[in-house]
């Protein structure tokens, strides 16, 4: 009975294949930091997205008779300087931070990873040129540039995502490229090339799956960075226009009342931001541990 030679190779291939990804996943989930981080993230997502389902208070409704009220049974986190309910503003502000942050991070990763893959795979003078461009871009102060873009374009959330993505991808290509340089020498890439695979195919099918660990770690960095940048821009009075709440604007407003001991205005947005970024960094750390141990 004739057995297809390719079938033998295929069967053999899967049986001896190192259990790379699944081992990494196991290491990730064995790390308590992963659980702390994911748990923290889940809580903040639930707070921002499910919170408004249970807590029906309009975050935009002002009330001149109840300004700067400390927490009461009716307003669990008190009210701000326009008499708006602070807890519901915290929830809605969280939605905005998370949605814009995640979208901007993913968009910037798409740009950064493609750039790194192309640069690493093509090599030669294109690679040199592309990396030199990165060196130059790294010397531009992002926050100053963001100030400029922000006043020039007065962004909606979508424009903000685009601006953030365009200014924050620059750190990613180097990480990806350095891995691509070693991966592209391996036999399976050579084999793929010998079968006549095109660059695009090699990038998507051979390189991308193998840099996925690094990409995931970098993504967590980008998400944390994007959320912080949005909050910073809002804190600077830019970013997204009022009245939609967001944590950065809430903090910069509360700064005027620092001397009044209005703790309910100052601590919640700052702690929520710290909580979110801390959770993401925990996940990031656990991911990095898993990726490092795989190598």
């Amino acid at each position: 009975m004739a057995v297809q030679p390719s079938a033998i190779i295929m069967a053999d291939d899967t049986s001896t294949m190192p259990k790379g990804p699944s081992r990494g996943v196991r290491i990730f989930f064995r790390n308590p930091m992963a659980w702390i981080g994911l748990g923290g993230l889940l809580l903040i997502v639930a707070f921002s997205f499910l919170g408004p389902v249970f807590y029906h208070v309009n975050p935009l409704a002002t009330n001149v008779k109840n300004l700067m009220s400390p927490p009461t049974a009716k307003h669990l986190l008190g009210t701000d300087d326009l008499g708006r309910d602070y807890l519901s503003r915290m929830m809605w502000g969280g939605q905005l931070s998370l949605i814009v942050g995640f979208s901007a991070a993913i968009a910037s990763m798409i740009i950064g990873v493609s750039y790194g893959l192309i640069s690493g795979l093509l090599g030669g003078w294109i690679d040199v040129l592309m990396m030199r461009a990165i060196d130059v871009l790294l010397s531009i102060p992002t926050l100053f540039l963001l100030l400029f873009l922000d006043v020039a374009f007065q962004p909606s959330p979508l424009v903000l995502v685009i601006i953030l993505a365009l200014t924050s991808w620059i750190g990613v290509p180097r990480l990806v490229r350095s891995e691509v340089l070693s991966i592209k020498q391996r036999d399976y890439v050579e084999a793929s090339r010998a079968f006549g695979a095109r660059n695009l195919h090699i990038m998507m099918k051979e390189l991308l799956p193998n840099v996925l660990g690094t990409v995931m770690v970098a993504t967590t960095f980008q998400i944390a960075g994007a959320i912080l940048t949005i909050a910073t821009l809002s804190f600077l009075g830019l970013g997204l226009p009022p009245p939609e709440p967001n944590w950065g604007t809430m903090l910069s407003n509360s700064m005027s009342y620092m001397y009044d001991n209005s703790w309910w205005l100052i601590y919640p947005p700052g702690l929520a931001l710290l909580w979110t970024v801390l959770s993401i960094n925990f996940v990031s750390e656990a991911l990095r541990g898993a990726v490092d141990s795989r190598m």
Partner: protein, 316 residues
């Protein structure tokens, strides 16, 4: 060494030209262009045309870029709309204040992070390491402005040790001492915000160094652990942090922007922020370029410092 320095200087030129090109493009993608932003609500097509003619904006773009770049080479960054002064002139008033706090913060952060990271890397896995790791992890996740607000709340409002803003008190001019007490909190915030990532870096760098052959050699020669750590391991681990310094200049100035706003400290961060609200685009781009130039210079400096710290590198 001289050849290397010259070569690195030459490499910096394309970077600077590129920064200039990006700035030029940005200035021209502002909706309505410079004339529109100059006139604001007083704009009419006739006035825009007149300004375009007088500023040379009706010339072809490459010609405009040539003229603009020629001015740039002469240190002419353009003319500020809101200050009615050359941009360079305005920047030079504010820049020294920023450089003062950034420089002091960087030096302190370096000393502290090298010390913390080194001791941590040595006592890896012990309680000292755990405490500092947790602390730096928190600091690392902390938004600069939140840190700034907390510092003001604690040291200025509750304890009353330091003033919460400004650069000196006009009613009670206290000379140098007043200047220092006004700069203390901005420096503290800036230092804490950079400290975390550098200490983390230093820790892993020392951990890598401690298992190297030269550390084992040093130990087997009978050197004290102190000498092994601070002379042999530390010296080799300083290299990455020097590069890190060069790369973190833009972030440092970004941090300075936030800190200056919180403490109402008149540096280029505050200047840029005010300019942003007045739509004074030449000022914003001037500071972007200024920080870009400083970054290129800082990276150059970092490369040269490399050779001083690492005797393995000879610039031939």
């Amino acid at each position: 060494m001289l050849v290397f320095t010259l070569r690195r200087l030459l490499q910096a030129i394309p970077s600077l030209i590129f920064i200039a090109i990006i700035s030029f493009i940005l200035l021209h993608i502002v909706p309505g262009g410079p004339a529109q932003s100059l006139l604001g609500q007083h704009s009419t097509p006739a006035r825009i045309a007149a300004i375009d003619r007088s500023l040379g904006l009706n010339k072809p773009l490459p010609v405009q870029f040539g003229i603009w770049f020629w001015h740039l080479l002469h240190g002419n960054f353009g003319y500020s709309y809101s200050y009615s002064q050359p941009v360079m002139h305005v920047i030079m008033i504010y820049l020294p204040h920023t450089l003062e706090i950034v420089t002091v913060a960087v030096i302190l952060a370096h000393i502290l992070s090298v010390f913390m990271g080194t001791v941590q890397g040595y006592y890896q896995g012990r309680w000292f390491d755990h405490v500092i790791t947790t602390l730096t992890f928190f600091l690392w996740s902390m938004p600069v402005f939140w840190l700034g607000i907390l510092v003001v709340m604690i040291f200025s409002i509750n304890l009353g040790w330091f003033p919460s803003g400004g650069i000196t008190n006009p009613e009670f001019p206290g000379g140098f001492a007043s200047y220092v007490s006004h700069a203390t909190l901005p420096i503290l915030v800036l230092m804490l915000s950079t400290l975390a990532s550098w200490a983390r870096f230093m820790r892993s760098s020392i951990m890598d160094a401690m298992v190297q052959d030269y550390v084992r050699t040093a130990r087997s020669k009978g050197l004290s652990e102190f000498m092994v750590l601070f002379k042999h391991a530390l010296r080799n681990s300083l290299l990455p942090i020097i590069t890190l310094f060069g790369l973190s200049i833009p972030t440092l100035f970004g941090g300075a922007l936030v800190v200056e706003l919180i403490f109402n400290y008149p540096g280029i961060g505050l200047l840029t922020w005010n300019a942003a609200f007045q739509r004074d685009y030449p000022i914003i781009l001037g500071t972007v370029m200024m920080v870009g130039v400083l970054t290129v210079a800082g990276n150059l400096l970092a490369d040269l410092l490399y050779g001083l710290v690492d005797p393995r590198i000879t610039y031939s």
